[in-house]
Amino acid sequence: MNFELLLTYRPLLMAAEVTLLWSVLTIGLYWLSKHFHRRYKRWWTTPIIITPILLIIITLLSHTNYNVYIRGTHWLIALLGPATVAFAVPIYKRRNIMVLYWRTLSIGVVFGSILSIASAWFLASAVGITDALRLSLLPRSISTPFAMVISGEIGGTPELTALFVILTGIFGASFGQLLLYWLPLKSKMSMGASFGIAAHVAGSSKAYELDNEVGTIAALVMVLTGIFNVLIAPLLEIILT
């Protein structure tokens, strides 16, 4: 047996091991926390909060670099692409909503996007956050694939934007329901629109949990907001520089 040949393949083998180990760990923890959440319904037991915390603790305890972790699990993030494609099904099923309420939907998308960008800009300026970081914060309320494209275009850091997008999603999905419950709203349209604009995919999946129609509106608004933001990104770049 040629051991030297085996040694040359050692890095490749290690990469496979790393992928398997961290992927299994991530999926396993997600699965466990999902079942745990079904038993104990608290806001902090949702998989999107408890799983990353456990993963951070494990990577810190095992002295693993995040670059190693992400090399093993980036294929999971890549699945956000087909997940975006999957939104075609609920949108197609309820396409009549878009035809009926296109005016309200476009008002919501335009106003919500401007509010989101402006609030991030002014709040960041108020606490004295510097330029690249401030730019990375701007596209935080739209879904990750769009946000990373825009962040790169206007001069932010796409990787940081992805993180801010996810934090926004976690917060919006967890507390959006509480906020909307407290507001005197009369239409499902407004609930769906604010979930979709403020908390993108995370908000949409939360909205689906609440009500099928609210979820559909959220998904629709999320996609429209993403496209609208990509279109105005060049304009934004001109204004900001």
Binding site: T26, P52, I56, A86, I107, P145, F164, G172, K186
Partner: protein
């Protein structure tokens, strides 16, 4: 003799197609594979066309067009799409430990950013909900009046 044989052959072929269709409509894994394949194609289109639109969104519109022109039935996607939407949160999780790469966020800076995200999200949720609710009822009244006149 030959036409009859051909007819029989085409009959079996049709039966086979129906069988394949039925298995496809029932199989979640095949549908997940189909959605992923469509996304791959869309990704290629996105790269090739140099549009600033991500592949996922091009794929979404591709599927909408296919569905609209009856080139694809909703039943051959529904189960797979359902799975993707239900497990969406899993795909976000690996991005969160990225904070470990940014030691500067463990401290004052991190709190500032968290405050911006939380406050900003509250502003967006409340603002959007109010304006959409308002415009929904305004436009509803408008469309009713339009119908009357």
């Amino acid at each position: 003799m030959l036409p009859r044989k051909f007819a029989m052959l085409s009959h079996t072929f049709k039966k086979l197609l129906v069988f394949l269709k039925r298995t496809f409509h029932k199989s979640r894994i095949l549908q997940i594979a189909l959605i992923t394949a469509l996304w791959f194609i869309a990704q290629e289109i996105s790269l090739w066309s140099h549009l600033p639109i991500p592949g996922g969104v091009i794929g979404l519109f591709l599927v909408l067009i296919l569905l609209y022109f009856n080139l694809l039935s909703i039943r051959s996607l529904a189960l797979g799409a359902e799975w993707f939407l239900a497990e969406m949160l899993l795909f976000f999780i690996p991005a969160v430990p990225a904070v470990l790469n940014h030691q500067e966020f463990f401290g004052w800076m991190g709190l500032k950013i968290l405050a911006i995200i939380i406050l900003g999200t509250i502003i967006v949720i409340i603002g959007t909900a109010i304006i959409v609710d308002f415009s929904f009822y305004k436009l509803e009244k408008l469309s009713k009046r339009e119908m009357k006149s």
